[in-house]
Symmetry: C2
Subunit: 276 residues, 2 copies
Amino acid sequence: MLRTVFFISDGTAITAETLGHALLTQFAQLEFQQFRIPFIDSQEKAAEIALKINQQAITDGQCPLVFTTMVDQGLIATIAASNCQVFDLFAAFIKPLEQQLGVSAKPSVGAAHGLVDADGYEDRMEATNYALTHDDGMNIRFDDADIILIGVSRSGKTPTCLYLALHFGIKAANYPLTDDDMDESRLPAFLLKHKDKLIGLSINPERLSEIRQTRKPDSRYASLRQCRYETETAESMLRLSAVPVLRTTSSSVEEIASRIILEKNFQRPHFRYDIV
Amino acid sequence: MLRTVFFISDGTAITAETLGHALLTQFAQLEFQQFRIPFIDSQEKAAEIALKINQQAITDGQCPLVFTTMVDQGLIATIAASNCQVFDLFAAFIKPLEQQLGVSAKPSVGAAHGLVDADGYEDRMEATNYALTHDDGMNIRFDDADIILIGVSRSGKTPTCLYLALHFGIKAANYPLTDDDMDESRLPAFLLKHKDKLIGLSINPERLSEIRQTRKPDSRYASLRQCRYETETAESMLRLSAVPVLRTTSSSVEEIASRIILEKNFQRPHFRYDIV
């Protein structure tokens, strides 16, 4: 039996969904159907959702779970009056935090979401533009780069660069090693002069072949033999120049990005928080 | 006095940071210095962090706050033995969830982070590639698009498309209205034939002018007069074709993306959860 779960907030509800889902993964023996309900910022909208929850409870024959990060206790009360079990992800910690900090919380909807942090925002957008114009070797002047990812085609460079730019305002460029580079057996000079910025991405050749198959089926490009040659050559070139290498085979983009930040010891520049 | 805060997890610690920071915004009268500490997955690493926390406590003259989503209570105990106040974001909810669900949690580190959900991942990567190749009007064949964003230059189209693709696997294209389009006073036919996929982004002309100034200072392009003309013309063209319009002026990319998903009633396709 599917259990229904709602993630509800006055903002995007991304935080409620992220923590709520992480909690649900601890009950792997059960299955859940999950709905994210953003922008519930009035009694009218809360009442509408309460109605939906009641209907769902009838359909399911059991009460849905609700995870919320809303600040307004009046809105939470309206939802909690429906046939559901509310997990208030904020309330559980506000009291102990007040005790520890020695001051009272000032409930503030605006502070928790939606207000653009102008500086960080501009930097993130500039970094995104940088990532777009320094993708896939299309521009090899890397003077302004914070970081340069190196790897074979389809090793995860582009999405990682975009993620680093969009979320952290890091100017991330990437360069795919070409056949010519591989013939040389060493990294080109325009990379080596930025040695401190380099990070290699490596991927298991079997997995790489799978990924390339979906793009160009039955091509030399996708063959296991070619994928083996490229990944081995690339790794030995990176090792020769003592470039740190991260394995991407079973990692998400979020994880690779976090590893890069750790590896390069970036001060956390502009993480955006308004995603409650 | 700055209070020091650590967000610690065996995964990326993004969830701990996101909820932790949202809680701290409720204490706007205080200032915090915040550190995200990912990948603490062994007693050695936990002991190392405990040491850092103790040093920080001496420097600060007060104990740091720790927000964690770690599953392994042994690792949490090692950290909690240092001079700090731990907020265990998981533990607070596991017991009530067990009661509500009628089963015991099966603590699982792997389930909460890092394992690639292969299908969702492929779709997200394909969508990212789509967004990159259908950015800024560079390709106007929109048959495969899930959504097409329309707006003037610098209204937030590109980062929004990339976010929709990277996070939700939505194939998002965008098209900037050109001078020729504006002279016609109506949307071009290659857009109108995909009317259900269209969403307009509008932005306050003063803000647009500011943004363009940083790109091309003192240009006609950045002048308030030109920004007014373009935003007014674009909005009337969108209104004429009954295209829904979202205002981006004081919204974050995360918010705009959430509004679009709501507006188009997308089933949440492939939200990635492994960012604990």
